[in-house]
């Protein structure tokens, strides 16, 4: 079982924390976010640094380039992960994982919630 403590010190998690904090201030729900990411990592079988490395590759000049197919793959996996939990809670867990990717430079969003009658 991957725990929040297991992943907290990974570079990608530190990057997430730093960029999130720069934008929104220190996350008040950081433990929840870590738990959500840890659960996702357990589910997909990869750690946070691996997830980011999977989506970004180094190119000449020291830049990083997105791997479009891997990005789409993880967007679909997050959706699946979220649907597995279900409801608004699932969305919160999914968004925590999305936030991790976003602040590591892998752009993604979620389909908007549509509250039907």
């Amino acid at each position: 079982m991957v725990s929040a403590d297991d992943i907290a010190q990974q570079q990608a998690v530190q990057t997430w924390y730093n960029y999130y904090s720069q934008h929104w201030g220190p996350p008040k729900d950081w433990q929840f976010k870590l738990q959500a990411l840890a659960r996702f990592c357990q589910w997909v079988g990869k750690g946070p640094d691996e997830l980011v490395a999977d989506c970004l590759r180094e190119v000449e000049g020291g830049f990083k380039r997105i791997r479009a197919k891997r990005r789409r793959f993880y967007m679909a996996k997050i959706k699946e992960f979220e649907e597995g939990i279900g409801g608004l809670q699932g969305r919160q867990w999914g968004n925590a994982v999305r936030s991790f990717f976003i602040h590591n430079g892998v752009a993604m969003s979620a389909d908007i919630l549509r509250q039907g009658p």
Binding site: R71, S99, S109
Partner: protein
């Protein structure tokens, strides 16, 4: 709305009220404004296909997304696909520039400036327009520039109608599947249109580089000096507005994220 305020209010809106349709007459007004834009040889470079989100199958609409066109496409009720018609100058050459001759006839291109039907036939068509068609890259640039003038007017018209709007990238293959547009129409932008879910000012007027970096007088390197009195007058006219970020912008985004179930 006064023109200066329209210019000042324009933002790229990225959160729309998905539940609120746009009145058809407002969409027509946007298209009418585009149709009246300046255009070289008075040719119809700009073409548009209006899409309504609720009339397009959800997966087809979703397929139009790109990495930078996401939530806004989910929330906008209307997307006007704008195209540059590469066939527009071709048709002019084939028909010996009837639109130019029309401009001669209505006094827009007068003999005072050297214009005549013969000039169009003997010089403009064979020596100016025809060679342009041999250079594909140049043709694309020409059509893109001319169609962009129409699109800019469409954007401002949307603002004048009290709507939010944004020019955004659209997946061309997905657009082709929905619209079945002609091959020579080059997809340029999707213009999203709707009532803003965020504040109309989008959290403030977007940053710009210093005025004198872009504009010069008489020669490059001699900046056009920005007169502060003119700036003040334009602030009064609401063309120059409070710069982003307004103090509450981040809180607004948080609430919007909560409303739409989006990540932060």
């Amino acid at each position: 709305m006064e023109f200066k305020e329209v210019v000042g209010r324009r933002r790229s809106i990225r959160f729309y009220q998905p539940w609120r349709p746009v009145e058809r007459e407002k969409i027509q007004t946007i298209l009418e404004a585009a149709r009246l834009a300046s255009r070289a040889i008075n040719a119809d470079f700009a073409k548009a296909i209006v899409l309504y989100r609720d009339q397009v199958p959800a997966e087809d609409w979703d397929a139009m997304k790109t990495p930078t066109t996401t939530v806004q496409l989910d929330t906008a009720p209307v997307c006007i696909l704008w195209f540059g018609d590469l066939g527009a100058p071709v048709r002019q050459v084939e028909r010996r520039a009837p639109t130019l001759k029309e401009l001669v006839d209505v006094g827009a291109l007068p003999p005072t400036h050297g214009w005549s039907h013969a000039y169009v036939d003997n010089v403009i068509v064979p020596q100016v327009l025809s060679p342009m068609l041999q250079n594909q890259a140049g043709l694309v640039a020409f059509v893109w520039a001319e169609a962009s003038l129409a699109i800019c007017q469409a954007v401002l018209a949307a603002v004048d109608e009290g709507l939010g709007t944004q020019l955004t990238a659209i997946n061309a293959q997905a657009a082709r599947k929905i619209t079945q547009h002609p091959d020579q129409w080059l997809l340029m932008w999707g213009q999203l249109v709707g009532y803003p879910a965020e504040s109309w000012d989008g959290g403030g007027q977007r940053p710009r580089e210093p005025f004198e970096e872009d504009f010069f007088e008489m020669r490059y390197g001699n900046p056009f000096r920005r007169d502060p009195q003119v700036v003040e007058r334009l602030k009064q006219a609401k063309m120059i507005q409070e710069p982003a970020p307004l103090p509450w912008r981040n809180d607004e985004i948080r609430y919007l994220a909560q409303m739409f179930g989006l990540p932060l």
